[in-house]
Amino acid sequence: MTPGGKALAEFVAEATEILDALGRDLLALDEARGQEADPEHINGIFRAAHSLKGLSGLFGQERISQLAHAAEDLLDRLRLGRLTLDDKVLDTLVDALDTFQALLGEASRSEEGQELTQRTRAMEDRMARLGSPPPAVEEDPLERLELDGTVRAVFTEYEEHRLRENVRRGVSLWRVRAAFDLTDFDQGLADLNARLKPLGEVISTLPSSRPGGANGIAFDLIFGAKVDARALEAGLKGTPAELAPLSVRPPLEATDTEVLPPLGADEEEEGDDEGLVETTSLATVSSPPLGSPPRMRAVTPPATVVGLQAAASAPIPAGRPKSEETSMRSLTQTVRVDIGRLDGLINMVGELLLIKANLQRLAETSGQDGTVALSKLFGQELSRETRQLERKLEALQEGLLEARMVPVGQVFDKLARLVRKIAREAGKEIDFVSSGGEVELDKLIVEELSDPLMHLIRNAIDHGAEGPESRLSAGKPRRAVVRLRAEQKGNHVVISVSDDGSGIDEVRVREVALARGLVTPPQVSEMTRRELLNLIFLPGFSTRSSVSALSGRGVGLDVVKNNLGNLSGIIDVWSERGKGTAFHLTLPVTLAIVRALVVGVSGRTYAVPLNSVLEILSVQPRDIRTVERREVLDLRGQTLPFLRLSRLFHLPEREVNRHFVVVVGLAQQRLGIAVDELFGQQDIVTKPLGGRLSGVKGISGATDLGNRRTVLVLDVAELLEEGIAQERRRA
C-alpha cells in the first residue's frame, strides 16, 4: 500500500467509526420521536460531528469537513436549546448521515463526483436554514438558582444550558460531594455516575479545590434529580457521596407559561412537511427567512401537497436515481477483536513453541544415535507430540476464525434506521422487530449482507406491507410488522426478512413469467406453488413496468440471489396470500477455512465443502431411475435429483459398478452428485479463480491440498441450481 493509501485507509476507518457512533445516537433519537430527546444523545451526535470535522480537515477531505461543520453548527444550536428538535430537524440529520456515508464512499475510492458535491452543498444549505427557536423566556431561570459564583464560572456554555433547563423544569438540584483515592478515582466516579444516571442528570463534574488529603481528591457533582430526596439517598447508599440540596427561588410569576419544546408533530402532517421542505430547499434563490415554512403551508393549495406526497411514496427503485441509494456496506477492512480473544491466541502460540522445542529435542536425539531414533519409545513420543501439535493448531485456527466473527447486529442497527426512513417515505405504519443480532458471522459475510437485506426490507415495506386503511379493512391491525431475524443452525446462519402484508400473488407471477418468455406454458402447468414463487428470482423477471403490475415483488431479486450465491448462500421464499411473505437466507458461518470432502471423478480430483454435504450413499447403476427424462434416486421414499459431475464437466465417463452419491443440500433443496471415488476430508482455503475462469459454472475456486496439488472446489449452491435448471430444461 502506498503511504497515501495507508493514510486514506486510516482516515476511512476512523471516519467510519465516528459515523457508526453518530448513527447509533441518531437511531436512539429517532426511536424516541415525539418524546422529549435525551440531551446525551444530542450531545453525542454533536461530539461526533465535531470529531469528524477535525479528522476530515486534517486529511484534506474538504467536502466532509464542511458538511461536518454545518452539522456541528446545527447540533450546537440544538444542544444549547436554540433550536427545537422536531421531525424536520431529525429528518435532516438522518439525510445528512446518508450524505456523509456517500461522501466517505467516494473518498475511499479517491473520487469527487460533481453530483454529490452539489448534494452536499444543498444539505449544508438545508441545515443552515433550519430554525425555529424555542419561545424566549422572560427571566433567566439561572438567576433563581443559589449557586456560588465561582462554581458557575467553570461551567461551559453547554453545561450552563443544561443547568438552566433543569431549573426551568423545576427539577430538584443537588450538589453531590465525594472523595476518592487519587489512584482509582476515575473508577469510583464511574461507579457513582452509574448509580446516579437512572436517578437523573449529572450536569457537571467539578474537581474540588480542597483535595481530600495528600493521596485523595474530591469532586462536586451538580445533579438534577428526577426522584425525591429519599429515593436519591437510598440510591446512593454505600457510596462515599454526601448530598447537599441547591436551593432555587420560585419563579417571579406563578402563571409562568410552560415553555417545553413542542413535542413531535402528528403523523398526518409529517408527509406534508417533507414535501414542503423539499420545495423550500429547491427554491434557494428566494432565500426564505427563518420560519417561512409554516407560512408557505398556508398558501400552498392542498392539491400540490398531495401531489408531492404521492411522488415521495412512489416505488423507490423505479423513481430514485441510483446514486442516492447509498450502500450500507462498511468501507473499512478492519475487525475489532476482543483483547481476551487475542490473549488466547497468543497463549496458543506459546504452547506451539513449547511443542516445537520438544520436537527439536527429539530431532536432535535422533541425529546423535541411530539406535535411539528407531526405538519404540521414541516413536511413541514423536506421535504424542504430533498429536499435541495437531490439537493446538486446530485450536489456533478456530481462534483465528473466531476473531473474524462479528455480530450481525451491526448491520441490523443500520437497517433499523433505514426502516423508519422508508416507512415515512412510503406513508406506511411499520413496526420493525429484529432479533438474533448477537449471532456471529464472518466479517466479510456480514458486510456483503447489508445490501441484499436492505433490498429485501425495502421491498417488504414498499410492496409487502399494505397502507393502514387497507389493513384495517382486511381485518388486520393498523400497523404492519416487518421482522428481521437471525438464527444459528449448525454450520449455517439463517436470516429471515418477513412481513405480515398482502403476500405474493402466484397467479400474477405465472402470468408475468409467461409474458416475459421466461418459462413455457407446459413448464408452468407442472409447477408447484413453491416453484412458481421461485420464478421471482429469475433474471429478467422484474422490470420497472412490472413494479405496479405485480405490487412490485421481485424488483432486482435476481441480484439479491446472485449476491448470496457469491457467499455460498441460498435464498428461499415463502408467501401466503393475505398473510405475508418471508425470505430465508441460509449462509455459511465463515468463508475463510472450510472442511471439505475430497472426491474423484474420471481421474480428476475435486473438493466439496462439507458444510453442505448431508450424507454419502453407495448406489448401484440400476438404482438410478429416469422419470420424465430426469435422472433421479429414491432416498427413503423421496425422489432425489441426480447429477453426474462427469457429464456436467464434459469428462469421459467411466464404466463403474457402483456410484458414490454425495447428497448436498441448502435450505429446502437437495441434490445427489455422483462421483467415482472418495478420498477423505481436509481443511481447505478457497482461492477465487481469476480472469476468464471466474465465470465457470459449478466451480467456486481452487485450493491447494497441501501436497502441492491444486484442485477445484465445487460450488454447491450453483450445482443445486444447475440441477433444478436441468430438470426444467428436460421438462
Binding site: E14, R47, H50, S51, G54, L55, G57, L58, T150, A153, V154, F155, T156, E157, Y158, E159, L182, T183, F185, D186, L189, S204, T205, L206, P207, S208, S209, P211, I217
Partner: protein, 124 residues
C-alpha cells in the same frame, strides 16, 4: 533538561496534531492525555511547565481543570493555554477569567502554538 508540556484533549486527531507541533520545538517534550481525569492523575506525579487543554471534554471540562490547577498551591504557577472552538467566546472568556494564560482558536496554525510556547517556556 527538557520542558514538559501536558496536553489534555479528547479528540485523537487534534491531540496528535498538538503533540506533534509541540514536539517539533527543540527542548520541549509533550505528554498527551485524552481526558481531564488522566490529567488529574498525572499532575501530582510529575512537574509540568505548561498545560494545554481543550474546553469541551466528556468527564471534566477544561474550565474545571483550570480552576483546579489555579486553586491548588502545588500547581497554581503552571501556565495554562486553552484551545477553543470558533464562536465559543463565552467559554474562552471564562477560561481567561479563571486564570488561563493564553488561548488558541481551532483550527490554528502550528506557528501560533509555537509562538505561545516561546512566550511561556523561557528561556527557549
Amino acid at each position: 533538561m527538557k520542558f514538559k508540556v501536558l496536553i489534555v484533549e479528547d479528540s485523537k486527531v487534534s491531540r496528535e496534531h498538538i503533540a506533534a507541533t509541540v514536539e517539533a520545538v527543540d527542548g520541549v517534550e509533550a505528554i498527551a492525555t485524552s481526558s481531564g481525569f488522566e490529567a488529574l492523575k498525572l499532575l501530582p506525579r510529575q512537574r509540568f511547565d505548561l498545560i494545554i487543554t481543550d474546553i469541551n471534554m466528556p468527564d471534566i471540562n477544561g474550565l474545571e481543570l483550570i480552576n483546579f490547577v489555579k486553586k491548588n498551591p502545588n500547581y497554581r504557577d503552571v501556565p495554562l493555554i486553552i484551545i477553543t472552538t470558533e464562536g465559543r467566546e463565552q467559554d474562552r472568556s471564562r477560561g481567561m477569567a479563571l486564570g488561563a494564560a493564553g488561548y488558541l482558536v481551532k483550527p490554528f496554525q502550528p506557528e501560533d502554538l509555537e509562538a505561545l510556547l516561546r512566550r511561556f517556556l523561557k528561556p527557549l
